[in-house]
């Protein structure tokens, strides 16, 4: 069981017998008031979404998901194809099912595919992935945002903020839970 204080973006819970993933999460608490956990949930089978505010004493079941190691093969149109590396069975998931995970998928990457009632419904990525920077703008001095970062694009098309010393062609490590830059890697 999870309690409300375990809730965070990306966590999967079971509600009324169906698996849901938290796609937006915000902790709120008036200074003298109670803790409130504001969520937007997506049903991992139907894709339906709803928003709900939970309180500290709310409890959640863990969904009964089976994980299988599979390799990402290719994407075509809206379908992302994966292969079981032992049985060679192939399945696909849609872009909607994968959500932000598509930002970090490169060919041949091994991921965990999650099955609910023998149906593939989502994947679970490694926490850290290394991706190549395919486009980096020069850092604009005098940037007034008060931060020391610049935007780059990686090989999947995903854009993120990185320190100014990162150049095109570098490989960088990204935390797939937050989508944030971790470090530059040498390979």
């Amino acid at each position: 069981m999870y309690s409300a204080s375990d809730l965070r973006k990306g966590l999967k819970v079971q509600i009324d017998g169906e698996p849901y993933i938290i796609i937006e999460f915000e902790f709120s608490k008036p200074g003298k008031g109670q803790a409130l956990y504001r969520t937007k949930m997506r049903n991992m089978i139907t894709g339906n979404q709803f928003t709900q505010t939970y309180r500290s004493n709310d409890k959640f079941e863990k969904p009964d998901l089976e994980e299988r190691t599979m390799q990402f093969l290719y994407s075509q149109d809206n379908e992302y194809h994966f292969m079981d590396t032992t049985s060679y069975e192939q399945i696909f998931l849609t872009r909607e099912q994968l959500g932000d995970n598509v930002n970090f998928l490169v060919d041949n990457m091994e991921v965990q595919v999650l099955f609910f009632d023998n149906r593939p419904i989502d994947i679970s990525l490694p926490i850290f992935v290394n991706l190549e920077v395919t486009r980096a703008d020069p850092w604009v001095k005098g940037d007034t945002s008060g931060t020391d970062t610049k935007p780059v694009t990686v090989e999947t098309g995903y854009r993120l903020q990185v320190p100014p010393f990162v150049n095109q062609g570098d490989r960088i490590q990204i935390d797939t839970r937050t989508g944030e830059y971790i470090t530059r890697v040498k390979e």
Binding site: G31, K32, A35, K141, G146
Partner: protein, 304 residues
């Protein structure tokens, strides 16, 4: 020229706040963080540290000092509250708290206006323009006093479509406050929400003309709760009654709680006072244009 980075703005804010209060004959104090007793507040969970607690606010110690005859006090200190991590929350955060003997909450609201106006004329905060107008999420927020005073009941009727008392009876007060009321407050000028139901202010004095309300206010800027102030309750007997309810709620939740005797003993000697606690990190978020509290801290162990 590159604008000052956030840590430089933090240092500047610390100094500006200090000069504001020192120039007004406030005494800066630094009271203990590790305490054998806390003010019982059922909604705030302290960290236990062996047989003592880390303070959840400096209120207990500062009121004991007021009772000992120090009439104007301020403190900038760290406070610790378990389970509070979010865009606007950290389990360890910095509080600016000040007390002025002889005042009620009306005078303190006016002084909070003067503090923010003084900060608006400081140089070096990224989110202030040349005329001291605060820029936030595309809005221009003038800090020029006087700011609106809106009663809690009026705010609930206006933004949640229900009287505050009815929200409380429905057990939806906090939820409606957070989802319906707060997001609409303070986008042109800061706003004071004032006069809370007595259940929502266990350390505040009741209003003479309406004993079901207390003289408590909260300051909102750009939808964010920034400060909380009261005309302080100085009647030790009434304070003990109110604490009893809080202690029952804490014990019902399975946590230990005890009546803070040293605090209650001091309270009878405390003069009429108004006090306010302001989230220092949140103030810096506003002044430096940060979206997340994590971005204004020297470092953020809660994301390590």
């Amino acid at each position: 020229m590159l604008p000052p980075r956030r840590l430089q703005q933090r240092s500047r804010l610390l100094q500006a706040v200090r000069s504001f209060f020192l120039s007004r004959q406030y005494l800066e104090v630094d009271t203990p963080l590790l305490l054998p007793e806390l003010i019982p507040e059922s909604r705030i969970i302290p960290y236990r540290c062996e047989e003592r607690f880390l303070q959840t606010s400096p209120e207990l110690c500062m009121k004991i000092l007021l009772a000992r005859g120090y009439p104007r006090l301020f403190q900038i200190c760290h406070c610790f509250r378990r389970g509070e991590t979010g865009r606007y929350h950290r389990s360890e955060f910095t509080m600016l708290e000040w007390y002025h003997a002889g005042w009620g909450y009306a005078e303190l609201m006016a002084e909070a206006e003067e503090l923010l106006q003084a900060l608006a004329s400081e140089k070096g905060f990224t989110a202030l323009d040349r005329r001291g107008i605060l820029q936030r999420h595309g809005h221009r927020i003038s800090l020029q006093p006087p700011w609106e005073r809106l009663t809690v009941d009026e705010a609930f009727r206006r933004h949640a479509g229900i009287p505050a008392r009815a929200a409380l009876a429905d057990d939806r007060f906090d939820e409606l406050l957070v989802t319906r009321v707060e997001p609409r407050l303070g986008w042109q000028h800061p706003v004071f929400l004032c006069d809370y139901p007595v259940e929502q202010g266990s350390l505040a004095r009741c209003k003479e003309e309406d004993p079901q309300s207390v003289e408590r206010f909260e300051l909102y800027i750009a939808g964010m709760e920034l400060a909380n102030g009261f005309s302080e309750l100085t009647d030790a007997g009434e304070q003990e009654d109110r604490f009893s309810g809080e202690i029952r709620a804490i014990r019902a939740a399975g946590r230990p709680a005890a009546m803070p005797r040293r605090f209650l003993d001091a309270l009878d000697a405390m003069p009429e006072t108004a006090g306010i606690a302001l989230g220092f990190d949140r103030l810096l978020m506003l002044l430096s244009g940060a979206d997340r509290i994590a971005d204004v801290l020297a470092m953020d162990p809660e994301s390590w």
